[in-house]
Subunit: 254 residues, 4 copies
Amino acid sequence: MVIDINCDMGESYGAGMIGNDAKLMPLVSSANIACGFHGGDPGTLHQTIRLAQQYNVAIGAHPSYPDLAGFGRREMQLNPQEIYDNVLYQLGALEAFTRAGGGKLHHVKPHGALYNRAAKDPEQAEAILHAVYYFDKTLQVYGPAGSELHIAALKIGLGFCREAFADRSYQPDGSLTPRSQPGALIKDVVLAVQQVVQIVETGTVTTQDGTVIPMQADTICIHGDGLYALEFTNAIRNTLTEKGIAIQAPPVFA
Amino acid sequence: MVIDINCDMGESYGAGMIGNDAKLMPLVSSANIACGFHGGDPGTLHQTIRLAQQYNVAIGAHPSYPDLAGFGRREMQLNPQEIYDNVLYQLGALEAFTRAGGGKLHHVKPHGALYNRAAKDPEQAEAILHAVYYFDKTLQVYGPAGSELHIAALKIGLGFCREAFADRSYQPDGSLTPRSQPGALIKDVVLAVQQVVQIVETGTVTTQDGTVIPMQADTICIHGDGLYALEFTNAIRNTLTEKGIAIQAPPVFA
Amino acid sequence: MVIDINCDMGESYGAGMIGNDAKLMPLVSSANIACGFHGGDPGTLHQTIRLAQQYNVAIGAHPSYPDLAGFGRREMQLNPQEIYDNVLYQLGALEAFTRAGGGKLHHVKPHGALYNRAAKDPEQAEAILHAVYYFDKTLQVYGPAGSELHIAALKIGLGFCREAFADRSYQPDGSLTPRSQPGALIKDVVLAVQQVVQIVETGTVTTQDGTVIPMQADTICIHGDGLYALEFTNAIRNTLTEKGIAIQAPPVFA
Amino acid sequence: MVIDINCDMGESYGAGMIGNDAKLMPLVSSANIACGFHGGDPGTLHQTIRLAQQYNVAIGAHPSYPDLAGFGRREMQLNPQEIYDNVLYQLGALEAFTRAGGGKLHHVKPHGALYNRAAKDPEQAEAILHAVYYFDKTLQVYGPAGSELHIAALKIGLGFCREAFADRSYQPDGSLTPRSQPGALIKDVVLAVQQVVQIVETGTVTTQDGTVIPMQADTICIHGDGLYALEFTNAIRNTLTEKGIAIQAPPVFA
């Protein structure tokens, strides 16, 4: 058995430090690296990609709406052409550092409000993935299983990795419990590890009301900016390793 | 006896957190608040000014070169007109929040590369202070004693507060030991406190080679982003208080 | 009889020139000046305000969503607190130049997507006007009559100037013909002048289907960036003057 | 005989239009396209590259200091690592659109203050060209003959195209007459055409004081933003064509 662990990285900008990249990088198999539009100045891109390459972590682009002040968390009404152009710009910028470092881009995962919008809006999902397709059709796309982003990837012909969350609880319909509701965030390490193991071993998740539903996942997202990010990741990593589950990025087909 | 303690604040941008404003604000008498050009998105400005007003801390503008990715630490060849326009823009933006919160701007301290440049370049120093003068001639200017910024303030007719540093060592000519040299930073709390007390009580400082030179100061700068910022500030504050030295911002004359 | 003619100005950024400010400024009575978020670098703000003061044109802030690449024309999901903070920041920045030039801010007109959103969203309308109110409660607000922005101004207690358009056709319900429909833009100078005169003299407008509806207006918006902006404005100005209608900005009550 | 004609393109940003790309593109053989840091939002990059590809114009990256408000014309004290990172980021962003459009990047020409600095500062010149080298070692570099940029290209092993100007006068030492001096700009079409022909046919230029000096050039820069840009370019193009001189971009060696 094998699973990917992905984490958002390289989101610092100027003197503002975000996350804990140096300590988390050795623990994950995939890094979604900010491309400058919600975080990630050019120096941060460079250092983060070097770090990823040092630990053989698969490098993914983490494109965003152009909204540095809002950290890409505010929805913007870009039309499909604007989405395409903004994503393509970011893919290129990130790939330059990957290539200069002797490596190759592995995947793309939209960030923040763009991720949420792409999950439910087929037009924006396709605009993002057209940019990916014309840029490099071997790239994997990370996103929620069954989302509009997933459907667009199938339609356009891009590899797709279904993403589940270690520290978020689920609803019976397979959606994440909204952050505004109690229990949305799993703060207990033991429960988070248990959820990951269940997803990986059985392809199911136990929702907030106790229902067990299917949850196929190719990659588990862990959050790098939480107080306990390091503790959670270490615990998940150790448990998976003990159980003989390999932690590695999905292969690409060139 | 009385001294001001000033600290740079409000430099976070988007999701990038800088400094430790919430814990430091109650300990200082003056806050130099970023205005959006090197840090400080509008939300951060608002929160920081509210925090300062809550603790009756004197609010200063901390204008910078327009360089978010470089945190205002890279010199830019702006001509005097551009300096004037960029500083004036930032003064206004910050003042809006101060005024909306029912308060008044107290001082201006240039940030980073602009501070360093203004200390030695009379043309840029005057351009900055012309903006201050035409904006509000009751504002105090914070900077190094005897610098070109000081001279420009005297010439233009603005109040000037001579700034000394708690955690930087000095050279016999009164300049700071460059950060590239050993001993530039005072990492020992006891020594930092001792330096502050000597400056306040005797108007002198003992330089790195042991020489005692004059060092009149109206305000002591403490750094908010260091590992020990809180410890240093508490120690300085406690010692000054024990010695009966009042910590308060310089008065303005309206 | 008296009417105000307003025009968006100062939207150039870096080397990109927008509009024809130098030639239009002598022809209008109100200028809505960009504040840096959709256009208007600090140097442009300065020059535009100086130009307005030279011709005794009433200076208005023209705040926008923070979207330079999209010229503020793309809707952004800012929450009311973010709207308040972004507008307040821009009001302050613009006012600094007005004050340094010896003048006073006169009005506020939201720009682009923020204008459209504020017309129909009471929450965003109120957030904008709370910023105006806490900044300077003597400022006039420019916007569509009967819009949510109008209602918010009445509720909060700010002066409101009802705006009509010289070169846009109207629907029987009083709304503008959408730009996507034929005849949305009035390209014939004679017809545009006629529409302005009718609005000013009779308080009515003839809609696209021939219906005559009430259209009270305190200010007429002319577009500065069209090919015929100068010709239109001159024609409107000359005709109004011939008819003895004074062109001047609405008074403020301090 | 053959010569390249290059022009800066794609510098518009948001609603600010710069230059006259649509009309000039069919007349040149090389386009230096802004990459977003001094101009060139993602949509402009896309349209400009599509236009260049439509007319088989060689596409070059035109990277800049990160200074949108200053149009990249203000020198910034970036260290070599920062120069490398900023240039690499821009190369990637531009190349993404070129690649998605089915083409290939051809050359790199630094913009504005970065061009001027690189001409005389070996450290910055090398930092720029290290980025080019690690990104794509087949790219040509455009710059002044004998400059530090030229020396760095030779040292690092990148192809270099010596650039001369159609509408700038030269000094006896081969430098451009500074813009602050009279006669710096050649405003007479006939004289500009004559200078280009002399450079191409004889490898010499007649300086402002009448001296004839060597001036080998592989590419002639024309300015796209001047009042007479179109007239100049047409005249140069027609005269060269009449004289049987081919206008085409230098070949690359892959």
